[in-house]
């Protein structure tokens, strides 16, 4: 069979090699979905713990993209889309290479930046969203802090921070 060759997954990530093309910000395609570590952590119920932040609040990137951005495993990055922005960890993807794509496991972190647009098909667009990713010094928040900061249900005076939803909305008022 002459199918597209299965790529080998590099075990060692070289960060310094393509430094000449280092950039502060990358334009990427964002995909979200499940992962066995995220699933195990979520369903066990350990969502308040640091473990969940690492399992779910991590952008898995192609090593070359990470080198371009000048980040290494478990550095932090700010991911922005039309719908919001959120600080997450970055880590080397097991499914690499997929240059120009990042994968964030489903969870409160990914929710801030995915598109709620269903195109009248009931299912939000969780995959294939245009996003930008840049370095940041801030740490990803733990789940409870993130929920409080993003949705501000019980804190009306809270300041809008780096983890927030944009004002972009869909459909509101059309049927009222």
């Amino acid at each position: 069979m002459t199918y597209v060759d299965k790529p080998s997954v590099p075990n060692v990530v070289k960060f310094d090699e393509p430094m000449e093309t280092k950039r502060d910000k990358l334009e990427v395609m964002l995909n979200t979905g499940g992962d066995i570590y995220q699933g195990a952590c979520k369903k066990r119920g350990s969502t308040l713990k640091d473990e969940y932040r690492h399992a779910s609040g991590t952008a898995y990137m192609d090593p070359r993209d990470m080198a371009k951005l000048g980040v290494k495993n478990w550095d932090t990055a700010l991911v922005k889309t039309d719908w919001g922005e959120v600080v997450v960890f970055v880590a080397h993807s097991r499914d690499a290479p997929h240059e120009g794509q990042i994968f964030i496991c489903k969870g409160p972190w990914a929710n801030v930046i995915v598109s709620p647009e269903t195109y009248c098909c009931c299912d939000p667009t969780y995959k294939g969203i245009d996003a930008t990713i840049e370095r940041t010094d801030k740490d990803p928040l733990l789940m409870a802090d993130l929920m409080a900061e993003v949705y501000m249900k019980y804190d009306n005076d809270a300041e809008k921070s780096t983890n927030r939803l944009t004002d972009k909305r869909i459909n509101v008022g059309k049927t009222k």
């Binding site: 979905g33 369903k43 119920g45």
Partner: protein
Amino acid sequence: MAYEEPITDYDHIVENCTCAFCGCNCDDLTYLVKDGHVVGVRHACRLGASKVMEDMDQRLMVPMIRDDNGKLVEVDWDSALDKAAELIAGAVRPVFYGWSETSIETMKYGLELGELVGAVLDNQATICHGPSLQAVQNAGYPVMTLGEVKNRADMVVYTGNNAMNSHPRHLGRYSTFPRGYFRKRGRFDRTVVTMDPRYTDTAKMSDIWVGFEQNGDYEFYNAMRAVLRGKKLKKDIISGIPKEDIEELVESMKNVEFGALFFGLGLTHTLSKQRNIDIAISLIQDLNKFAKWNLIPMRGHFNVNGFNIFMAYEMGFPYGVDFSRGYPRYMNGETNTIDLLTREEPDVFMVIAADPGAHFPGGANRHLANIPVIQIDIHWGPSTELADIVLPGSFIGVEAAGTSYRMDGVPIYMKKAIDKPETCRDDEWIVNELLKRVQKIKGVDAKMASK
């Protein structure tokens, strides 16, 4: 992975339990119980074992109501249930979302409650396999059971899903590795094909990986159908796959004895949504001119299929059923939870055995910050952070018995293995209790149970 010592410190064993994680519903689990807790699980995958051996630190033990300062405070069952019933009875457009991790018996009371107050009943299919159900309505459902796959399939295709991560025992127990009646040699008698833009863990262990482009599903399946019907492809590369490879793949798919296609959220979450599934189902129909082919959607929760089957049987529609006009109505893009929330319509939201905080887009979740949210669940999760009333339920398949439907539509009775914490209640009891209280508020007589 590091070697772990086998667990020898347990009081007794409970055999033949059913796993309450994914749509595989593996019913061969053995629980090792000590002091009323499951300390070990045999035969389960990493996901199932982690769920059964739950994190008791975050277990919801007592009912809670949010006070004026925004803190959840413990209350007794009566006041929590009364408050919840009051909210539900007074709501104009309530939404009852969830149900996929609870039993069919609970849904029965939920349906009655929904009908009474004119609610929208929806389940997790709305954010996962909803488009698949629409496609089934469009194009048909050439379905089989997992037992047939085990005994007959000589080609297994995974498309748009990563079974090794989401349904870890699917390959080992049903599709690829087990030795079946006509597949005596197990894995060696089968060809595994993975079609996925990502080189996933499933792709790594399959014989053929077709890595078409992101959002290229529709074009790719159409090209396969064209080849299948004897047409010549005009483009050299379609969705990133060379024409010759597509022809070769179609040829090998035609020449199997029994093919099984499993599709997942990779198809339903991309832009073409239900059209991807339409075309996949049509491909299966076309393939049946040459060989026996069937498909199964890879359902995520252990009873997400159950809600769809239950609702379709009771009300005629699988999910997103709206009772606000007094009769069941179903309209995609209108009566689905995400669309309702982005339009900011609901005024009371009840979450039962689900976690919108973890799985809904922020654009939908932000409306949950405006309205009262009632949560029936077993763990303190992201939704608890948005909830105003928390009712601690019990764990179906471990602490409570119940019926669930496997991904292929086979009903499985999940037995009870241990006792629930004393202060928790069964989901069935909670929803029934809410129903009784709402009936009382509305002045409606409880229906006499039919024979």
